[in-house]
């Protein structure tokens, strides 16, 4: 049975072209870029090229930094803990604003900073699932708020926050602005100059690059206490031998994912596949798709199927070779309902019935046709088993 992968918000397959570019750096081009001999220096120009690709991908100024690191979690930790050391600990700016729907890479780190004395405000979402400029205006404290950290796009719903407006409000009030953009790169246009964000984090494996490599953008003239101290790699801003194969692959993956053509393909073809599946889900009885599709990344559907527990649906899909994901607590590390559902005030009943389908540019029309058939069949079977499903209730 040919498998179909619709869990791209969790991770993506590495683009075969990216793998080809990466391969020599896992074999012959193994030199340490900090070494002065030819083994080291021969990779130098490839690293410069990768940096150029990354800077171009998010339209960063040459005067800004993009620190190569291991993943967005590291980038988020670097920003948040750096802000703690630079402001919270030693100045009157002891306040951080974030949202109730952040990924644990941000929310758990902020919980930790809170335990150290940081004052934290967690913004709720609007009924549409978005962080609104008005809610930030209300919460921000002039000259006391050190940082506003709001994700660009939500991993569960795909909903896209108004980052440009939010960053502007932060700056008007003397705060810095960070955004976790892992779900945005390659799906929507990410331009750090247009949006004026100060810190932006991303991870290669979310846009068809390899796992274990990511990046942190730091706006020009901003200093941030490093998370890793040690050698002088990355100009002393992130010690540790640079993951050259990962960096080179991430650079190329960024170029492929953020070109005008790629974003157009995402916005037209991937969106059309997503909408086709979504239309069928909407046509089934007692289903809800969370969030207006016009405010979502083009690849994401979070749907609730009344009467069907999310993990049992995932099991059924997996039996048919389809990989999706669930916010259902039963499949996670603890039994607490998914924070995104809670923040959106989604009925507790629905919080256990959510299934996320996240597509990529590698999905095909034939695959979506097969998914549609399986979804219809599974919904019917699982509702027959269900003790709670009553049609139309």
């Amino acid at each position: 049975m040919e498998r179909i992968y619709l869990d791209n918000n969790a991770t993506t397959m590495i683009d075969p072209e990216v793998f080809k570019v990466m391969e020599p750096f896992l074999k012959d081009k193994f030199g340490n870029p900090n070494s002065l001999h030819s083994f080291g220096t021969e990779v130098h120009k490839d690293m410069i090229k990768a940096l150029d690709q990354l800077y171009a991908g998010i339209n960063a100024s040459d005067e800004s930094d993009i620190i190569i690191n291991s993943c967005a979690t590291e980038g988020n930790n670097t920003v948040l803990k750096g802000i703690y050391f630079d402001f919270i600990q030693n100045s009157d700016k002891k306040h951080i604003i974030t949202s109730q729907i952040e990924h644990p890479a941000v929310s758990h780190t902020i919980n930790f900073l809170e335990s150290l004395g940081t004052k934290v405000t967690r913004l709720p979402v609007s009924p549409e699932g978005l962080i609104t400029p008005d809610s930030l205006k209300e919460a921000i404290i002039k000259d006391e708020t050190a940082l506003v950290s709001i994700m660009w796009a939500n991993n569960e719903t795909g909903l896209i926050n108004p980052v440009k407006e939010l960053a502007k409000i932060a700056h008007e009030n003397g705060a810095l602005f960070h955004t976790d953009a892992v779900q945005a790169i390659g799906k929507v246009k990410v331009d750090v100059q247009d949006t004026e964000v100060d810190f932006l984090t991303f991870s290669a494996h979310k846009f068809h690059g390899p796992k274990g490599v990511g990046g942190l953008y730091i706006r020009e003239n901003l200093e941030l206490t490093p998370l890793f101290h040690g050698g002088e790699q990355m100009a002393g801003k992130r010690a540790g031998t640079v993951n050259v194969p990962g960096m080179v692959a991430m650079g190329y993956a960024m170029e492929l994912a953020t070109s005008t053509e790629a974003l157009e393909y995402e916005n037209k073809f991937v969106r059309s596949l997503r909408d086709r599946l979504e239309d069928v889900i909407n046509s089934l009885d007692d289903t809800i798709v969370i969030g207006d599709r016009n405010y979502r990344t083009p690849n994401t559907i979070l749907a609730s199927f009344k009467g069907i527990e999310g993990e049992s649906f995932l099991w059924d899909l997996n039996q048919n070779g389809i990989a999706a994901s669930t916010g259902s607590a039963c499949s996670s590390e603890d039994l607490e309902a998914d924070p995104t559902f809670v923040a959106m005030s989604i009925d507790a009943d629905l919080a256990h019935t959510g299934v996320r389908f996240s597509l990529s540019r590698f999905n095909t029309e034939d695959e979506i046709d097969r998914v549609i058939e399986v979804v219809k069949k599974s919904v019917k079977r699982l509702r027959e088993i269900s003790s709670t499903y009553v049609k139309g209730e």
Partner: protein
């Protein structure tokens, strides 16, 4: 356990073939009606347990021969994950042919055991054991409905670890009889806390009313009180622990440091059920002393460890 807990995911790989088969093709899924009961000459019993909002709900249908109390037909419907579906299917099957009182003795442990491919290998991973508990509870609800009594009247004991069905009294007895002093020992003796681990301390899979760490502490305190002897550090409240620590600082540590022109203050104390972390700040000559981070720190820690081995001291 540490190595095995480093990599998450892949729960489904730990399911037995029986569990997988029952998820895909439950044999006893369905409902029974008054008409079915009439045809079979029995009484229809319908029992619900759980709720969709909690993520797990099951409905059990029985037809019971009222002359013999034997369950002659048993079916289920379930809103739950695959494990809940497989457990409910197995539970419905285990009820068949038993009297209602015999069925009441079926626990989630029996259900899990019946789903094993190999008697020595669990049918589901530990964190999924809680999904089988509902199968046990719905039988009790069905029996209560059949007998016309309240569900609570069939609860003869307070269960602390639902996965292993271990009661409060069993845990307390094990601590008292065997002089247990750690949670690990409780698990070895009773199996409580061996599966999903939610009952060990707050922060696990699900919130619990009672945690083993609290039961252990309270039982040890009760035992110490009964003996009339000195209360052990581990069984003290955090307030009493603080007083005991300060007593050691005042009585043994500070006099020695003051003699050399120094001193020390307690900056903070962190109490975990398993250990105590004491943060200290040096004063006077000790603040600049080269041995403050080595010999002096070691001396302070050794003095405090007279109270309890699991006390650690750090400088701030």
């Amino acid at each position: 356990m540490a190595k095995n807990s480093l990599v998450g995911g892949s729960l489904w790989d730990n399911y037995s073939d029986i569990v997988s088969d029952r998820m895909n093709n439950p044999k006893h899924m369905g409902s029974l009606t008054e008409e079915d009961a009439k045809q079979m000459g029995g009484k229809l019993i319908v029992a619900d347990f759980g709720a969709e909002s909690c993520g797990d709900a099951v409905r059990l249908f029985w037809i019971v021969n009222e002359d013999t109390d034997v369950i002659i037909s048993s079916k289920f419907k379930s809103f739950g994950c695959g494990t809940a579906i497989a457990s409910s299917d197995t539970m419905a099957e285990l009820c068949l042919g038993k009297t209602v009182d015999e069925a009441l003795k079926i626990t989630n442990i029996d259900v899990e055991f019946a789903m094993r491919d190999n008697p020595d290998i669990p049918a589901v991973p530990p964190q999924k054991m809680h999904c089988s508990v509902m199968a046990y509870d719905v039988i009790k609800q069905a029996a209560a409905n059949y007998k016309g009594v309240e569900f609570a009247t069939l609860e003869d004991q307070e269960i602390v670890c639902e996965c292993a069905r271990v009661s409060m009294s069993t845990i307390k007895d094990a601590i008292r009889i065997n002089n247990l002093t750690t949670v690990e020992e409780i698990t070895q003796y009773t199996k409580a806390g061996a599966f999903c681990k939610s009952c060990i301390k707050p922060g696990g899979h699900e919130k619990k009313e009672h945690y083993l760490v609290d039961i252990l502490r309270d039982t040890l305190a009760e035992m110490a009180k009964e003996k009339g002897g000195e209360e052990s550090y581990a069984s003290m409240s955090n307030y009493k622990k603080t007083l005991a620590l300060e007593k050691v600082f005042d009585g043994e540590i500070r006099p020695l440091l003051v003699r050399d022109g120094g001193n020390v203050e307690i900056d903070d104390i962190y109490f975990d059920p398993d250990y105590t972390l004491v943060s200290i700040k040096y004063q006077g000559a000790c603040a600049g002393c080269a041995s403050s981070g080595t010999g002096t720190l070691q001396f302070i820690q050794s003095a405090l460890r007279e109270l309890d081995e699991d006390i650690t001291v750090r400088m701030v």
